[in-house]
Symmetry: C2
Subunit: 180 residues, 2 copies
Amino acid sequence: MDGIAVLVVEDDPDVRRSARVALAPHTERVEEVESAAELESVLAAGAFNVVLLDMNFVAGERSGAAGLDALGRIRSFDPTIAVVLMTAYGGVTLAVDSLKRGAADFVLKPWRNDKLVAAIGAAAEVTRSRRATETLQLAALERSAIERALARFQGNISSAASALGLSRAALYRRMAKHGL
Amino acid sequence: MDGIAVLVVEDDPDVRRSARVALAPHTERVEEVESAAELESVLAAGAFNVVLLDMNFVAGERSGAAGLDALGRIRSFDPTIAVVLMTAYGGVTLAVDSLKRGAADFVLKPWRNDKLVAAIGAAAEVTRSRRATETLQLAALERSAIERALARFQGNISSAASALGLSRAALYRRMAKHGL
DNA sequence: CGAGGCTTGTCCGGAATCGAACACCCTCTG
DNA sequence: CAGAGGGTGTTCGATTCCGGACAAGCCTCG
């Protein structure tokens, strides 16, 4: 799993070490922070493609609220990065809530190393895919929309043009422009 | 919750009745099927905006595989419709796997009626939002991309134009066309 | 077999868009 | 304080794109 840079957010030094031991042989880089206080600056500086985020790093707090808050901040900062949440206390409700709020995966502590590695690998792939498809280039968006329309209508030019809001002649020109 | 049409997929008649009793006062229509055999034709005929899907409707089978298979078929047929999964046997792993495969929510049996109603309401909103944003109209896609670019670059016309692959003058014209 | 409805690909006079250039403003640095 | 570097909004001759119309083909139905 070359090219994977993981940021581990975890207050417990034993768990941080366990994560590093599990992940380091399978990734390019594992960095750790003890709290979520400076998440944005660490993320900005670090070119990560996965975050492994503890849900409870406030002493005595077990609800997962801190982790969900941090998840929200990470997603605001970089919506493309996949976040894997981990907790020792989670039930179905917390897991479901986490994924609904945008976590890519949810891991219970103590984990099996092979499952953690697999989860991180899958999450990195989610980040890769999100980053590949996020573009603002109008030409690329137009080409993609034309391809989807042609697929949707099995190559029927009249229907595809209508769906795209173009005349048939205009669609022919756009198709030629994009080499379709 | 006007305008919500729910399809309940559940083999147990007692559970089907419980779902109907819980949901009927809060929705426009509740229909039920006993198995997933004819899902696509029922969905095609019915104009639903939520599916409440049991995970286990194969006798003796408790793994949830049947429900996940049905989820996949529903999503292939109509990727915009929100699916709420329900099971009596699910743990964190099954819940996480369900959401990763595209379920909008996950409900454990026996449910609390108010929570089921809330989950269905939220799922209907997910369907509404997905259907609103799925468009092939190039003009709408262009407007949306311009808005995202302006937001991304805090209104900086030069940077937004560059990201969109347009000249500044062209961007000004597109913005005027879209009333931005 | 022929009509009707749908599809296809192409054309061309007119309309719309193009982007380099212009003039100007603001901030930062030497 | 002046100059550099970034930004802004607008202009206009050149270029590209527009869509209704045309001609033709295919499929279904009476």
